[in-house]
Every structure is written in structure tokens, then in C-alpha cells.
């Protein structure tokens, strides 16, 4: 037997060296190096900063299930002295939540447990949630903040709006976003021609540039079958037929009727909501080529009673007489024709499939048309597409990249899916939307905010749930008929285009309201949206102002001050107006001043003095978004200004 002492010795030494590698590596780990570098760095700073120990620091938030060791190396996060420091010591830009209380990964994601740079980003196979790229961090705000509008998160807010606007909830399950307005397809056979429908189905955005309807990339045969199928639906939702077209509209339209229609069209201010050749309001659909889309018969009936043909539509039912309806119909159907449209070319002869109804219905169901449209007898299908309510936590392995040549990250997947929905798998049914780059980013941000994970109530901000109060009675009928809530808010419900009416009884004078309903004018000339002339009946004009001045009141806005406007007070107010506060820089008075605020002429007929007084004292109290500065006026000053503003017209009467 050989003497093994020597080999044994050598092997022992080797083994010792190998075993020593790990402790040496331990000494040079990143979480030890960066604190050392930090201690070196702070020596050169003008401020005196306490050095740190070489330890792993972690933020532990049990309620959020967060263990974050980011602050081990990011040592200057909350210190303004590190604004220009190199990473990882650089201070955090604007911080809305303290890292000691929330950790870092609830917003940024990534691997909080990691103690080296590479692993902390989390782009490895053993971590599901890599760090967000900068625009998508905003999505994290949405996980706890459930308000409609989250401050400092414009992308998220816009994304959520877009999710609702494009009605993504029509096919996907999205928490917190309800299915939006669904244009009913009932009676479509009477509304449009098959030619138009075919053009529309082939590519909706080529017909109407701003439509939210996506392109389903249907084949020519599918378009034929689907339009044949849809053209069979001629009844309205309540099952009745359309009122017959009056004789005068059937034949050549007399010029006088057309002219009357044009006047009415202008008086009714249709362009407040509708655009014509891309000019006008954005609330309702483009009317530039509407006559080439909808039949005269349908337009006539629609103006007569919009919600009968399209339940839930925001269009008011104007108080037109029968003749006026005919005139407006005549004007619309003669004026708004798409002249670029090529002449009817019936060159391709198409044989209608004998089974077109069944086949069309199958296509209707395959592409989940019922997700956005209602069709009597064919119920809405729920949650057709993949569930998006937990997209934030969706495991990576569930993302099917197919043959798509993009980096395999969740962010790239969503972006790619929004840009080219069918590019991933062949059997994908998602239609092609017309999103621009910003829309893609904002929608992706909003989608990443969706998760089912329970977050303790302590950390969440709830959506303000306001008990909805319906306006009842005669006035309630008026509100419904004229769709006031499309633009105005009443009891925290309604659109944001026009002023909140809930307290307008304390603000406006009944007489003025009455005049205004008869002939609305523009209070703020710089706005596009203007109150339309609704052609209300005399009876309605009696009811509405009485209701508004009687019910929509707030005691707070009606202080018990006797408003006696003496000349002295007015002079003092004038001085305050012109010199002390410089109101004329935004407001117009007798043709002089700025354009930011509304003109202040003739306010005495419109406004109640109590409201003016209170509003001057604290402008933001009643409308937080108003740009008017709060000058902290004294009672005396406010009274003087009120006197000056209202005294203009009042002076003679008193």
C-alpha cells in the first residue's frame, strides 16, 4: 500500500480553499459593498450625515405581505441631499407614501427580498413580478385608490376612462368598470342600407374616423352573412314598427321646408353635442355624413322620440312640433350626404346564402357582438374574453406569446396585444382597435391596476358612494325627456360638461331661468358646448324654474344679510375690483377685461346676492376645480364687491 499522507494533505488543503470561497464571497456581497460606498460618499457631502452599518435593512409590512430590502442599498431615498447622488443612493423624486410604512414593491414590484441589483429587478424565472417600467408604476396607485380620479396618476385615470370608453368590459371581466352604453341593433334593418352596413362591418373606422367600434377583420363572406342577418331586424326594442314617413318627405323636398330645418338645426344648437365634418361637440356622433348612413324614415322617427329607437341614449327629446320635426329631418337628410361615396356599384353579384340567418347568427355569437350591442331575443353574453380582473397577478406562464417576436415580459405582452390582437395565436378573436401610442400606454397602465388580492381596508381609499337621489315628479319627467343629466349634475349624478344644478336654486333667479329656457344664451363664450334650445313647451317652462328655485337650494348659500347696495359701497367695491384684486384680468365688464372667467355684465338679473357673497368668500368650497383665486376676503370686502358686481343693474331699481 502506498503512503497516502501526501495526497491526503493536498486534498485537505484544496478542500479548505474551496470551503473558504463562500465566506469570502459573503464578505463581498452587494448589500455589504453599497453601505461601504455610501459611507465613503457622504464624506464628500457638505451636510453631516450619519454613516450606516453594513447590514441588511428591511421594511416589513405584515398586512400587505411585504418584505422589502431595497433600503439596504437605496440609502438616500428620503433625503433631499441625495438629489444628484449616483444610484443607488439617489433620492426618490416625489414620494407620496413613506417607504417605512408601505415598502417599495407595492408600487414598483420587483423582488423585494433580493439583496443584489440583478435579482431585485426580478426578471428571472423564479420571480413572477418584475419591476414595472416607469410609465406603468402609476398602475399601482389603482390597486389601493379606488376613486374615479386618482391624483398624480394621469395615465391611470385616462386608461380607466378609455377602458370604459372602448367598452372593454363588453368582452372582459374588469373589476370596477361596468359595461358601457350599448347601441341597440333593434330596428337596424330600417335604419341603414345593406351597402352601408357592409362598408361599416368591413372596417368601421374607415366609415367614421372616431368610432370606438374596433375592426373585427371579417372576411368578405362573413360581412355578407352578418349584414344579411342584421338587416332582418326591423322592429324597435319595444316591438313596434316605425311611424310612417309623412307624405311631404317622400317626394322632392320643398326648399322652404329645408330652410326652416336649417334654422331650427342652428337654433337647437345640435353642434353643441354633434360634430359636423369634425367641427363641433364631442358628446354625440358625427353628423357630417349621417344621411348616407341612416334612412330618412329612421331620422324622422329618431328626432320624434330618440329613446324609443335607442333606449338609454343621451339625446334629448326636443319639443318640436310635427312640422318642425319634418323640417329638421328634411334638412339633415338633404344636407349631410357623403358625396365622396362612389356610386352604387352592383358589379359583384352576390347570391344570398339560403341559410344566411343561422350562419349570420353564428358569426354574431362567435365575435360576441352581443358584448356591446343589444338585440332583442339574443341575450348579452357575459365575460367572453379572458378575465382581466386579476391581470396584475397573472402568472407569466399563462401568457401565450405564440410566434410573436417580442421580449417575453408581461408589459410587452399587453402592449403587443393592444396593438396587434390577432398576432399571437391564430384562433384569437379579439378585434383590432385604433389605439395610438399614448392610448396603448394608458390602457396598459389601467389594466395593470386590476387585481383580486385583498388589501386591508386601512390601506385602501374607497370610491365615494353617494346615495343616489332620483328627481321625481313632473320635473323628473322633464329631466328624463331632455336628458339634462348628460351635461348637468343633479344630486351627484350626471355629466361634467355643464354646471352642477343641485344648488342652483340658491344661485339663480327664477325669472332669469325662465327666460333662459325660452332662449338660452352663452354664459361663457369660450366654451364649445353650449346649452341647446330644447324648444320646451310653455307648461314645462313654468314647472322647471319653480322646481329649481324651490328645491335645489342650500341654506348655507343664503346668508341672512341685508343686501342694501349704497353708492358708497359700490364705489368701494369698484376700487377693490379694479385695484386691490385686479378682477378685470380674468373677467370682462362693459367690454373690458380678460377672457378666463365669464363676463360679469348684467349679473343682477341672473344671480342672487347671497350666492355671490358666499362664492367670493370661498370660491373652491362649492366647486373645487374652479381656477378663481381665494383672496380670503373680509365680510366687508366681499359685501362691497357683491354690491359693485350686482349693483350695476340694481342701482336704478333700488
Amino acid at each position: 500500500m502506498r503512503d497516502l499522507t501526501k495526497p491526503f494533505g493536498i486534498i485537505s488543503v484544496l478542500f479548505f480553499i474551496i470551503m473558504a470561497i463562500s465566506p469570502v464571497k459573503e464578505h463581498y456581497r452587494e448589500w455589504r459593498i453599497y453601505p461601504r460606498e455610501y459611507n465613503e460618499y457622504i464624506k464628500d457631502l457638505p451636510q453631516r450625515i450619519t454613516p450606516v452599518q453594513e447590514t441588511v435593512k428591511q421594511v416589513w409590512v405584515p398586512e400587505l405581505d411585504v418584505v422589502d430590502r431595497c433600503t439596504t442599498c437605496h440609502l438616500g431615498l428620503t433625503n433631499a441631499a441625495f438629489r444628484d447622488a449616483p444610484q443607488p443612493f439617489k433620492s426618490h423624486p416625489e414620494m407620496y407614501h413613506q417607504p417605512e410604512r408601505f415598502g417599495c414593491t407595492p408600487c414598483h414590484q420587483g423582488q423585494g427580498l433580493a439583496t443584489n441589483v440583478e435579482s431585485s429587478f426580478g426578471f428571472s424565472k423564479d420571480w413572477e413580478y418584475p419591476m414595472f417600467s416607469s410609465p406603468f408604476v402609476e398602475s399601482s396607485c389603482g390597486t389601493c385608490h379606488n376613486e374615479d380620479s386618482v391624483s398624480h396618476a394621469p395615465l391611470l385615470n385616462r386608461g380607466k376612462e378609455l377602458l370604459a370608453e372602448y367598452n372593454c368590459a363588453g368582452c372582459h371581466n374588469i373589476t370596477g368598470i361596468d359595461r358601457g352604453f350599448i347601441p341597440s341593433l333593434d330596428g337596424i334593418g330600417n335604419k341603414v342600407s345593406k351597402e352601408w352596413l357592409k362598408r361599416w362591418l368591413t372596417n368601421p373606422s374607415s366609415v367614421s374616423q372616431n368610432t370606438v367600434m374596433p375592426d373585427f377583420l371579417l372576411s368578405e363572406e362573413e360581412v355578407e352573412l352578418l349584414s344579411d342577418f342584421l338587416m332582418t331586424f326591423t322592429e324597435t326594442t319595444d316591438g313596434s314598427e316605425l311611424d310612417p314617413l309623412p307624405e311631404v318627405l317622400k317626394s322632392e323636398i320643398p326648399e322652404s321646408l329645408f330652410d326652416e330645418g336649417e334654422t331650427l338645426f342652428r337654433n337647437a344648437r345640435c353642434i353643441s353635442c354633434h360634430s359636423i365634418n369634425s367641427k363641433g361637440g364631442t358628446i354625440a356622433v358625427e353628423l357630417g355624413t349621417v344621411a348616407s348612413k341612416a334612412s330618412k324614415h329612421w331620422i324622422y322617427n329618431f328626432i320624434k322620440n330618440p329613446s324609443k329607437l335607442q333606449p338609454g341614449i343621451t339625446m334629448p327629446q326636443y319639443g318640436f312640433s310635427e312640422e318642425e320635426i319634418q323640417a329638421v329631418t328634411a334638412y339633415i337628410s338633404e344636407e349631410f350626404i357623403d358625396w365622396d361615396l362612389s356610386e352604387e356599384e352592383e358589379s359583384t353579384e352576390y347570391q344570398t346564402d339560403p341559410n344566411f340567418f343561422e350562419k349570420g347568427l353564428k358569426i354574431y355569437r362567435t365575435y360576441n357582438c352581443g358584448g356591446c350591442h343589444s338585440l332583442s331575443g339574443y341575450p348579452v353574453v357575459e365575460n367572453f374574453g379572458p378575465d382581466l380582473s386579476d391581470l396584475r397577478n397573472k402568472p407569466h406562464y399563462q401568457l401565450e406569446f405564440g410566434q410573436k417576436d417580442i421580449p417575453h415580459t408581461k408589459e410587452q405582452y399587453i402592449i403587443g396585444k393592444l396593438k396587434d390582437p390577432r398576432g399571437f395565436l391564430e384562433n384569437s378573436l379579439m378585434p383590432q382597435f385604433q389605439f395610438d401610442e399614448t392610448e396603448v400606454l394608458t390602457i396598459t397602465t389601467a389594466l395593470f391596476s386590476l387585481q383580486n388580492k385583498e388589501i386591508p381596508a386601512k390601506y385602501t381609499v374607497k370610491k365615494e358612494v353617494v346615495p343616489s337621489i332620483e328627481v321625481q315628479g313632473e320635473f323628473g319627467k322633464i329631466v328624463e325627456k331632455y336628458q339634462c343629466l348628460t351635461c348637468h349634475v343633479i344630486f351627484d349624478k350626471g355629466g361634467t360638461v355643464a354646471p352642477d344644478l343641485t344648488k342652483s336654486g340658491s344661485k339663480l333667479q327664477g325669472k332669469w331661468i325662465k327666460e333662459y329656457f325660452k332662449l338660452p344664451y352663452t354664459v361663457r363664450p369660450i366654451l364649445t358646448e353650449r346649452m341647446p334650445n330644447l324648444f320646451m313647451s310653455n307648461e314645462e317652462i313654468e314647472i322647471a324654474p319653480n322646481f329649481i328655485t324651490g328645491v335645489f337650494r342650500d341654506d348655507e348659500l343664503e346668508p341672512e344679510i341685508e343686501f342694501l347696495f349704497s353708492d358708497e359701497l359700490i364705489t368701494k367695491g369698484k376700487d377693490l375690483y379694479n385695484n386691490t384684486y385686479g378682477c378685470q384680468s380674468c373677467h370682462q365688464l362693459q367690454g373690458q377685461g380678460g377672457y378666463v372667467g365669464p363676463p360679469l355684465d348684467d349679473l343682477s338679473k341672473r344671480l342672487k346676492p347671497g350666492w355671490v357673497f358666499k362664492r367670493l368668500k370661498d370660491p373652491q368650497k362649492y366647486d373645487p376645480d374652479i381656477p378663481e383665486p381665494n383672496f380670503n376676503l373680509t365680510d366687508e370686502e366681499a359685501l362691497a364687491l357683491t354690491a359693485f358686481i350686482l349693483g350695476q343693474g340694481n342701482k336704478n331699481e333700488k
Binding site: M1, S22, P23, E26, D65, R69, Q111, L113, D126, Y397
Partner: protein
């Protein structure tokens, strides 16, 4: 030397080491026989069995790996919680925060992989040396159980990191058990403590991996080693055991005839 003798002949030392120093052949054998750790060792070992090619040291390597696994395993138990929210996080802690945690975990992991391989090679070696033949047939059977225990330890340990790999490996494994006729479903239910791989399954696998299977394998190793000695020492491979020379009453087999021993000695000279 004076002090050494004094201590070794003192009362305390004598109460521990009863046989004294191995100064003669008789005392040498007494030392071996009276010591718990050495009694499993043969009094005399043939030089031929110590040759590398006769055993490739595979059994000893397996045992060495087992010792490494026990030691690192105990260390790991200090850091590991067999619970769903913490199991995977503990892996991350070992990687990112525990001193030398990565070394510890990797030692355990690679030793486990190596042990499966070495135990398998050991089995092959025994098979090709025909070392399973009488009187070692029972030790072969124990060896097979040891092999199975090794595999089970490896399998149960696989779930403990609680990652995707573990989850799906155990899904596949337990579904294979389910395919057993008649009792398949029950076996799966018993092993998982339910019908899904969840908290209960993790706990059961943990107890199996850290308590039951190590106990079983330790006992089997003891018997395995004991039987090597009782069945006549390591088989050298070159010298085959003569069938007729077993002493069944003593359960021992000297394995070689006096003639062969003498021949060996002559050859060495």
C-alpha cells in the same frame, strides 16, 4: 507519556475505555468488540477489499453523502417553515440574507442528487460483482430498501422549496400514484392529506422528509452495515465466496478457506 499513562490508567478513563490501549492482538480485538462505533467494523480487514477497484468506495461515498445531508439538512431546518406563505420566502432568505445560505442549500441539493447517483452505482457494482449471492442475499434486499428510501427522500425534499418546479413535479408524481388500481385514489389522498397540493401536503412531505424517512434510512443503514460484517465482510469481487463453507448457525461466513489465506500471504511476499 507519564501523564498520558496516568490518565489512561485512572479510574475515569478505565470506566470509559475498559479494554485499555490496544497493545496486543487480543486487546486490539477487544477494543473493536467493546466499542459501539467500532464493533460494526470487522476485527480484521483484508487488504484486497481496500483496493479501489474492488468496491470503488461507492458504499462509503453514499454514507458520506448521507452524513453531509443530515448535517446540512439540520442547518436548513433552522431556516425553513413548512407553510405555504413562508416556504418559498425562506428559499429567498437563504439566497439573499442568510450567511452562506446559498452554500448550505446548494450543498444539500447537490449532495442529494449525487447520493441518488452513487447509491445507484453502488447497486450496479454489487450486482456485477455478484455480491448479492448467499449469504448476502438478505443484505441485497435491505440495500434495495435503502435505494427506495433514498429516492423517496429525494422526492419528498423536492416539494419543500414550494416553487413551480416542485408543485408540478409533485402533481405529476401523485397523479401517477392515483393510477394504481383500486387503492390509487386513497394513496394519493393519504400522501397529500387532501385532494390538492396545499398546506397539508407540504406539511406531510416535510415530516416524511425530515423525520420518518431519515429514521427509516438510519435504521436500515445500521442493519446494512451490521450484516456486512456478519456475512463475512466486504466482498472483494475477485475472490468469490465458496458456497459450501457457510456456517449457518453462527450466521457468519469466514468466506475464504485457510488455504486461500495462506496463498494470499505467499503472493504478497
Amino acid at each position: 507519556m507519564k501523564y498520558y499513562d496516568k490518565i489512561m490508567k485512572g479510574r475515569i478513563a478505565r470506566s470509559i475505555f475498559r479494554t485499555g490501549l490496544p497493545t496486543s492482538n487480543y486487546r486490539k480485538s477487544l477494543v473493536i468488540l467493546n466499542n459501539l462505533f467500532l464493533h460494526i467494523h470487522p476485527v480484521k480487514v483484508k487488504k484486497s477489499t481496500l483496493k479501489f477497484t474492488s468496491t470503488f468506495y461507492l458504499g462509503a461515498l453514499s454514507f458520506g453523502l448521507f452524513i453531509i445531508l443530515v448535517v446540512t439538512g439540520i442547518y436548513l431546518m433552522f431556516y425553513y417553515h413548512p407553510s405555504v406563505p413562508l416556504a418559498y420566502r425562506d428559499m429567498k432568505d437563504l439566497e439573499f440574507a442568510v450567511s452562506n445560505g446559498k452554500l448550505l442549500r446548494n450543498l444539500h441539493r447537490w449532495s442529494a442528487h449525487a447520493m441518488v447517483l452513487i447509491v445507484f452505482l453502488h447497486m450496479l457494482r454489487v450486482f456485477f460483482h455478484r455480491a448479492f449471492r448467499p449469504p448476502k442475499e438478505f443484505n441485497w434486499v435491505i440495500g434495495v430498501f435503502l435505494f427506495v428510501s433514498t429516492l423517496l427522500l429525494s422526492y419528498t425534499g423536492y416539494l419543500l422549496p414550494w416553487d413551480q418546479l416542485a408543485y408540478w413535479a409533485v402533481s405529476v408524481g401523485t397523479n401517477m400514484m392515483k393510477a394504481t388500481p383500486i387503492i390509487g385514489d386513497d394513496i394519493r389522498f393519504l400522501l397529500l392529506g387532501g385532494n390538492v397540493i396545499g398546506e397539508n401536503a407540504l406539511l406531510r412531505f416535510y415530516v416524511l422528509h425530515c423525520v420518518i424517512l431519515p429514521l427509516v434510512i438510519t435504521m436500515l443503514i445500521g442493519v446494512h452495515f451490521w450484516r456486512i460484517r456478519k456475512d463475512g465482510g466486504l466482498s472483494s469481487g475477485s475472490k468469490q465466496v465458496a458456497d459450501g463453507k457457510r456456517d449457518m448457525i453462527l450466521g457468519k461466513n469466514l468466506g475464504v478457506s485457510t488455504e486461500e489465506v495462506l496463498n494470499d500471504r505467499d503472493a504478497e511476499k
